[in-house]
């Protein structure tokens, strides 16, 4: 299984603070990689570095074997890297359908040039995530869980090869979380590799093939979920050192 995404010794500094410190890992074809870690561990920064919103201070990023370290965000999007945002970012003035249509117009391979076709493709994605009946509503009128679905639909309309999910389950109840897990598994079946940042450990354990743990910018574990979650360093990062 060849690596779709390779992160090689990537570091990102912000005026005195090292948010991501010499992190290396790969994301394989059809793999779901979970990324966990306490708040402030550098998870969102990592996603920003992969999507091109931020540039690394050091290290390289490879996508399907090609170096993409210096590429701007929109070029990476056109290569096939899609992402959702933790703090959701719809286009408030546009309808739900048109929000997703933007993805179809500009995504993988520079997307579709015909507006009508883009809207058709958008509708397919909306139905896939279960937002079909909200198509004509304004995006900012959607409630929390539906906004998460919209984020997913927008990214999917880009026809990505890699999907970066930043806390798609935050604030959802147990039933909604199950639904998201099912959707993500179906996305994987379409041949899209997924990197999922999550706090809901139980959910991510059942979803991921592998887990990556970040703490204060360092990678402290990388492996199968069971092994990682019983790793003492990981437990210490979340719960603190045992007083003996």
């Amino acid at each position: 299984m060849s690596a779709v995404l390779e992160i090689g010794h990537v570091t990102r500094r912000f005026a005195g603070l090292v948010a991501v410190n010499d992190v290396s890992f790969t994301l394989g074809q059809d793999e779901i990689l979970g990324v966990i870690g306490p708040n402030g561990a550098g998870k969102t920064t990592l996603v920003n570095l992969i999507s091109g919103t931020l540039m690394p201070s050091a290290g390289d990023i490879f996508f399907k074997g090609d170096k993409i370290t210096g590429l701007s965000a929109f070029r990476r999007a056109r290569l096939g890297i899609g992402r959702t945002f933790q703090i959701m970012r719809p286009f408030p003035g546009l309808s739900v359908l048109d929000n997703v249509a933007v993805g179809a117009l500009f995504g993988h391979g520079a997307g579709e040039s015909d507006l009508a076709k883009a809207r058709e493709k958008a509708r397919v994605q909306l139905d896939f995530v279960g937002l079909g009946r909200f198509a004509t509503q304004r995006a900012d009128e959607l409630g929390g869980p539906n906004r998460k679905r919209l984020e997913l639909a927008k990214a999917l309309a880009m026809q990505p090869r890699v999907l970066l999910c930043d806390e798609v389950m935050a604030g959802l109840n147990l039933v909604e979380i199950e639904e998201v897990i099912e959707v993500l598994k179906k996305i994987r079946e379409r041949g899209i590799s997924i990197l999922v940042i999550e706090h809901v450990i139980k959910a991510i354990k059942s979803l991921s093939d592998r887990l990556l743990v970040l703490h204060h910018g360092d990678k402290i574990a990388d492996g199968p979920p069971d092994a990682v979650l019983s790793n003492s360093e990981v437990i210490e990062a979340y719960l603190g050192r045992r007083r003996s």
């Binding site: 999507s51 091109g52 919103t53 701007s72 965000a73 929109f74 990476r76 999007a77 056109r78 899609g82 992402r83 945002f85 970012r89 719809p90 286009f91 408030p92 003035g93 546009l94 048109d98 249509a101 933007v102 993805g103 117009l105 500009f106 995504g107 993988h108 520079a110 997307g111 579709e112 040039s113 015909d114 507006l115 883009a118 927008k154 990214a155 880009m158």
Partner: protein, 315 residues
């Protein structure tokens, strides 16, 4: 657009086109001014209304268009059409050269940077001898108001068709995405830098053409009037009052405000100014999305529309 609306627009356009045959000279002159202002508002609409970058530098494009025509006709003895093209070339050049650094700035910083650029350009041009320096240039006279009227109307139709095209094209969608959420647009594959500069240049083209027509019409220009900042403010107010980000809003705003201003000017010279100020203040409070939105929403919410706006924005 429904068939009814299309017919309505076409009828209005035809009425406007034949107006010079029946109207008085004063009316035609008012018409030229109002139509050119509508073009300016529509041009601003492209960069300010659709892309979300409120430009205070469109007066530079206006000035470049005016001077393009003036220099071509006065200094090089070229025909008007060539002068217009020259003006457009200058405008596009400016948009690309200075647009790139300035469009990296957000919101009000962009506004201020363009404002500063406008001041700088005005001062620079007043020192170029080819442009007649501080004294300005006098163009060959052409006494044909009807021609200028039809030219202005034609330009307005062209700019409006362009804006309409924006609403149904990939490019326009990209601009709207940039306006609504630039970072979100970028990660979805929109080449934000290129699109912003193109929008700026497109806005500049129409503004420059309007400047060119205006210069030839009044046969005189100098740096202060060509790069007049208050003109930029006027076009913004008209676009915003009418409805930014809509196809007809700016036209509506320009025509209504021009008409009101004209009526008041004949009553008392400066009351027009005061009225303008009060209208702007009231409009921003009660109808921040412009007249076009009022027309659209009034059927749904009635008078509550204004109260809703108030409640949403105050503390």
């Amino acid at each position: 657009m429904t068939a009814f609306r299309v017919v309505l627009v076409v009828v209005l356009a035809v009425v406007l086109a034949v107006l010079p045959l029946f109207g008085s000279d004063v009316l035609i002159q008012f018409g030229i001014n109002a139509l050119l202002l509508a073009v300016l508002a529509q041009g601003w609409n492209i960069i300010g209304g659709y892309t979300g970058y409120p430009s205070f530098g469109n007066s530079v494009f206006y000035g470049l268009g005016s001077y393009g025509v003036a220099i071509a006709m006065v200094q090089w003895n070229l025909p008007f059409a060539v002068g217009m093209i020259f003006g457009v070339v200058l405008a596009v050049g400016f948009a690309f050269l200075l647009g790139i650094p300035v469009l990296r700035l957000k919101g009000h910083y962009f506004a201020i940077a363009t404002l500063a650029l406008a001041q700088v350009m005005s001062a620079i041009v007043s020192n170029i001898s080819l442009a007649g320096q501080n004294i300005g240039l006098v163009l060959p006279p052409l006494n044909n108001d009807r021609l200028f009227y039809e030219l202005s109307l034609g330009l307005l139709v062209l700019s409006t068709l362009t804006v309409f095209w924006l609403t149904r094209s990939r490019f326009g969608f990209g601009l709207i995405a940039i306006r609504e959420n630039e970072e979100g647009a970028a990660v979805m594959g929109v080449n934000t830098t290129l699109y912003k500069v193109l929008a700026f240049a497109l806005s500049g083209i129409f503004t420059a053409l309007a400047g060119g027509i205006h210069a030839y019409w009044i046969t005189f220009l100098d740096p202060e009037s060509a790069f007049d900042i208050s003109l930029n403010v006027k076009m913004i107010i008209m676009a915003v009052f009418g409805g930014p980000g809509t196809v007809f809003g700016p036209i509506l705003g320009a025509l209504v405000l021009s008409a009101v201003s004209e009526v008041l000017s004949s009553e008392a010279t400066n009351v027009a100014g005061l009225f303008f100020g009060i209208v702007v203040v009231a409009a921003v409070v009660l109808m921040p999305r412009g007249v076009a939105d009022v027309i659209r929403q009034f059927r749904v919410s009635g008078w509550r529309y204004f109260i809703e706006n108030l409640k949403a924005h105050r503390i």
